[in-house]
Symmetry: C3
Subunit: 412 residues, 3 copies
């Protein structure tokens, strides 16, 4: 799995974490490696091993100056490619600096994130054309939360439409709109529909980008309620929130820090217009990003039982935990960092999870046999949206397929 | 040893921790297992594995409603027997819920505690008829402290009469009564006697309930001072505090949380009348229960050296640590969670400890050979009190035996 | 290495930690052993295993009285030799106390420190005649800091003259004198010289006391700038701060707490006169000792990134970290507790470090072959100072040797 993950460009940190050229370096732990990121004099982002190759002092304390990061211990300086460009404590005639470099990974910036590629140089893939990463900055907002469990355990929550009938239920769905944002009518309607059919049927379709997951609910007096979630490899989703067209989209990336921790990125965007402040505020509140303390660590966390309010649980929401992002973390983290899957009892509602695990195992095995993952080298495969649609009980199969195609496709 | 412990009903938590029907569930760690306890709609107490059998979300966050605990992740609901009584995210026609259950242990309530049995269903034992568990609520007070060491290490402190001449000594025994409670004359007298003979002789007698431990001190001008401590299997004691009849009794249970932590329950009771507020306050102060912060965790603890006061140690008490319960924890916890017994040097004063260890090993071995512990299946064997008596130097052997029998027996 | 370390007297704690006879015992962790130190009724210092040999209660809570330390659990009392001198819970006729003792190590007091010898009794060495340990108390000040890495990793920082051109550089050397102490002209001059030649050449000379390390810099318009650092076995240095004679000396000892922690002792002294308050304050500020919180633990530490100030790093000092002692800890601790040396890239500037490692390995091997380290048994070998000298570009070899000899020798 580690090797498979190193075939993709992945978000390493937010661009906002490196706000200025020659500013303070930041620590980045990614795929179990301790790294330091810095924005150099030209604005390029370097991503290097934390420990100086000389004697191991932390480059986090380094001087970020004149297009390089200089270790404070003996003044060795490295550029973003990892080359040692100055070694002032060795005699001027020494050739030693040409023999030394620091481990460095290539980076790109797009969509408010700094992307890194941690795989073999000769196999550098394409950046994924996720819609949110391509729209203008004004059309998008991106944030993140620290999460204390394995990344795949988090992805499994994201593709499990079944839980949204329960974990995120408001006891009185109308109350939700009132309590949070008066203009959020769609959420209330969706909540009602999810509560009316709590055992959706799942259909999975393997795709170029990963997996298209469709959950079907039957809603009396309305019709068939389809929620279609793309799972883009290796760890992205877009939430099917679009019952009424014209609203912002939202999605996630779950980036492995190491086997027992991940970053939950939340992004919201509108393909065609700038986001309003209300839209940004609502999504970041909803996903628990607004709840972060220093270091993007949520103030509602495992250590304080997510500040569960038992009275609220009795009378307002299913959990008594504020915000659906925090609800998701609560169930995912309290499984433990890596849950023992032999203790599970998976039902038909877990079809998407089973499909996701199979896909990962299949890709990992294929890679062992020398077969590279298609998605990594075809960024345009990611040009797919989610969809949330209601079709009449008497809609024909062809009508549904046509509607889905239309809603899922990102316009060129 | 783990198997032996699972032959007995053991206190799992205090009844007060589940104050109301359909109230908030609480976490219970017991014999190394992570469990959740809840009081359901009918008042019955459920005790189930913390992780939902579906995908492992913590049932601590569960909804306690309509005679069951419902997981907030996908709404699966379990009754106190562990049966899955609702599985709303599977299709109505599904039979899956009949194939799934959560690990659940039977519980009983008695004496202010919720008791649990964690052994094989077909071998369910009897509740122990400890006197405190049978008196009316008004006649008893029960509390507990979190303790950071192995349960047996704590029991060994409880049956070691020898240490009470030192660890709990007041430099001026008269001062004790003044500092704590003016009416506590007996304690002062006992303190004097213990200080006068600091090397008691021990006699052990194996019994139906466990072990009767007698410590004999010779007190000039008074006679023979006997302190008789019953050690009831697997981890209960009653303190021999009754030099003058008519006072409340007090005792302990040391319940294993896991190998390195235990709950120290302290209970005080009067067989014949309600306790006074003064009596309750004194015992809970004395045993450090009054000192608890949230989660029954003592504010005087290993991390802050039990707030030892060196000036007080020089002038008032042997330790400078406030309350004898805290003194006990101080010596037991600072051995480390499980002390390396090969480093010990046991003397004649450790006779009770040696006897206790032999008894446990013998019972564990017997169990391996298929022989069940007698006490577990004979609750009435526990109808024994402690005794603290002074007999004249010229008392006959028969007189002592008769006096002991009278004092040790719980009236029918 | 552990065996080699146990051939020397080593500083166990500061004398100030045991301010009074029969005062409170203190915990001391040394070479991976948990010990308790106490000053008895006669002023002698006992250093014994923390756990009582009876049942393992911590002797930290012991009663320090009448020339011995008495365990609070059962009153066993031990003298500074470790002998059990009272065992009041055993019968008077018992002979048990003569069979029991607590592990105890011999101690000496000198130079504001309590020294301990943790090796075989029959091989007791001599105390090292370090100059600071022999001057009157008024001529010396000694402090210490807790440091979270292996002791050798810290020593390596102390003998690495090369880093002082960078880690401790003031961007404007003149500013240093102004910011810290107006009278500190020499430091500013040294700073200028170190910045002018940043790649010193190293010469090592094995000696009776350990290693003499000379770093040579060429300074235009001034001449050759020599800094000579004695590394006294196993872990002491004196800093070459004496460009102008007549100032106080300063040095370090890095004493292993265990493999991953050490005490950094800092001492400053004047061979001929009492120190002024300004001198003491400056050195203790400079070395981060003034920054200590409770337990000699620095308030600027790994957990808070040493309170690095990025603006100060841009404009005032090379690191933005206050005080050179804290700068040293920052680079040494952030390598991790024991850095993986296979990841290093050592250059010519690391000659002293390479020589130190070779010396240690050579002595450890020699000890395995039964050859005791010379320095341990010859305290007078330590009568050596550091030197910091500037000689003209045309000085003869003989002149340099003569000057060095004069400056390095401690007058009899």
């Amino acid at each position: 799995m580690g090797r498979l993950m190193r075939r993709f460009w992945i978000p390493a940190l937010l661009s906002e974490e490196l706000p200025e050229n020659d500013g303070a370096p930041v620590r980045v732990r990614l795929l179990g490696e301790d790294l330091v990121a810095y924005r150099n004099t030209t604005g390029a982002v370097g991503l290097v091993a934390e420990n100086c190759p000389h004697r191991g002092a932390s480059l986090f304390f380094g001087r970020n100056e004149e297009a390089g990061l200089r270790c404070v211990y003996h003044g060795w300086k490295f550029d973003t490619s990892g080359a040692c460009v100055d070694m002032p404590n060795e005699p001027p005639e020494s050739n030693f600096k040409h023999k030394v470099n620091v481990s460095a990974y290539p980076t790109r910036e797009r969509g408010g994130a700094v992307w890194a590629y941690l795989g073999p140089k000769e196999l550098e893939p394409e950046l994924p054309d996720l819609e949110w990463s391509l729209v203008p900055d004004s059309h998008r907002y991106i944030g993140k939360n620290y999460q204390e469990n394995n990344w795949a355990q988090a992805v499994e929550g994201g593709i499990d439409s079944s839980h949204s009938s329960f974990l995120h239920r408001w006891l009185d769905p109308e109350a939700r709109a009132k309590v949070t944002q008066p203009w959020l009518k769609t959420a209330a309607a969706e909540g009602r529909f999810k509560a009316q059919d709590t055992s959706p049927r799942f259909m999975l379709k393997p795709t170029d980008f990963g997996l298209l997951i469709a959950a079907l609910r039957t809603v009396p007096d309305h019709g068939f309620f389809w929620r279609m979630t793309p799972l883009y490899l290796p760890f992205y989703t877009t939430i099917p929130t679009h019952l009424e067209p014209g609203q912002p989209y939202a999605g996630h990336a779950w980036v492995p820090i190491d086997d027992e921790h991940c970053w939950t990125y939340t992004v919201t965007w509108h393909p065609e217009r700038p986001l309003t402040n209300e839209e940004v505020e609502w999504w970041m509140w909803q996903k628990g990003v607004a709840d972060n303390g220093p270091g993007y660590k949520p103030t509602r966390n495992k250590g304080n039982d997510y500040l569960i309010d038992r009275e609220m649980q009795r009378t307002v929401t299913f959990t008594g935990i504020t915000s659906s992002g925090t609800e998701d973390r609560a169930v995912q983290e309290t499984m433990g960092p890596i849950y023992d899957r032999t203790k599970e009892h998976l039902g038909t509602s877990d079809t998407a999870i089973i499909g996701f695990r199979r896909l990962l195992l299949q890709l990992a095995r294929a890679l062992q046999e020398g077969k590279e993952p298609y998605a990594a080298f075809h960024g345009d495969a990611y040009r797919v949206r989610s969809a949330s649609v209601m079709v009449g009980h008497n809609a024909s199969y062809d009508e549904v397929v046509e509607l889905a195609r239309e809603r899922l496709t990102v316009p060129a």
